[in-house]
Chain length 190, copies 2
DNA sequence: ATATAACTTGAATGATTGTTCAACTTTTGC
DNA sequence: GCAAAAGTTGAACAATCATTCAAGTTATAT
């Protein structure tokens, strides 16, 4: 029973990157072989097929994202401050040259009738993100207020992910966030 | 000089629908031939290639969208009321069974390094939409306020387009819009 | 009526798609 | 040390991809 000779994490890192940038359809298995240096047989034995590989990539990405979000949310005493930090980070990301939006958002919109299972899987991951915000907002809010605020946060995040993909304008996005999320208590200067 | 025997508008309608639902990569020319009933030669003579066909589809969709938006904006005396109507319409759309988000948003996120020209074209169309809101908001706002409000509207629209694609929850979206866009002056009941 | 330009047809192109598999190598359990 | 399990290899598969083109048809201009 020989062990796999490749680092599964490393492989998923490369594959996720390819899927993230190019999308599910536009990423060929040929591309996967090249980015990982593995041969067809190894990939198919380890991940089943393209859908399985994509699903694991999604999980890999979600895991990283949630961990990072949770860390930031736990770091600050006031939830609003943490969320502000997260949103500002997203804006900064969107201004970088190689920005390619959010893997989950892109996948959600790309997948359709032909990949229902994958699409539902993405939806589930997005709901996990919203639940995380909801959980932290519950500390200072009623259930209905926390839900509305969590949804509003998600709307703005989705907005940044799309808007930032073609605009790259930090100030415009920041002004829009200040206007749409006044309850986050933005400071006067920044 | 024989005229084309097909209705260009009708063909674009069908093709747009396919691209909209399946995306650029996942829509094969074979699909195009089937949906239109035309043979390869006719399509390639009329539209050049897949990219050209996609570009015309985008323009067809943008034309229809802008016309509809402009009509609603011109219909109401108060801009805020018009925008509220538009957003509510978007929410209603997102609750329908066959909802497939916004063609421009989906394309913006799908297109990448390999279709830079197309991607820029989509960005341009999205900017036209924002400019339309900006123009109408200028009537009652300073330039900076109108810009911030237009951006905020776009963020929320993008949000609906993504959020509505996996949630289908009318009330949640509405509550989030009321929270994020209070300056639109929502009535107490609805 | 005829010449010519516009358009349609459908088979064919070579490249690329996702996936399989028999042969081979490596590691493990006993 | 031996057998079996696990993993690797690289060629090969049929299917589909976007696109082309020579031949045939149609409409228009003169």
């Amino acid at each position: 029973m020989a062990r796999a000779q490749f680092d599964r994490e490393q492989v998923l890192e490369n594959v996720t990157n390819a899927f993230w940038r190019l999308g599910y359809s536009a990423t060929s298995m040929q591309t996967v072989f090249e980015k990982t240096g593995l041969k067809p047989g190894s990939i198919y034995l380890a991940f089943g097929n393209k859908e399985g590989l994509f699903k694991e990539s999604l999980d890999h990405y979600t895991q990283q994202s949630l961990t990072r979000l949770e860390a930031t949310l736990a770091q600050y005493t006031r939830v609003e401050e943490a969320i502000r930090h997260i949103l500002c980070r997203f804006i900064e990301e969107s201004c970088q040259a190689q920005y390619c939006s959010c893997f989950l958002v892109k996948s959600q919109l790309e997948l359709g009738e032909h990949q229902v299972e994958l699409k539902n899987h993405v939806s589930e991951q997005l709901r996990r993100v919203e639940s995380l915000f909801y959980k932290y907002l519950l500390k200072d809010n009623s259930e209905s207020a926390a839900q509305a605020k969590a949804s509003s946060i998600m709307l703005h995040i989705f907005g940044i992910r799309v808007y930032g993909y073609h605009s790259h304008s930090r100030d415009q996005l920041l002004a829009a966030l200040r206007l749409g999320l006044p309850w986050l208590g933005w400071s006067a200067e920044h």
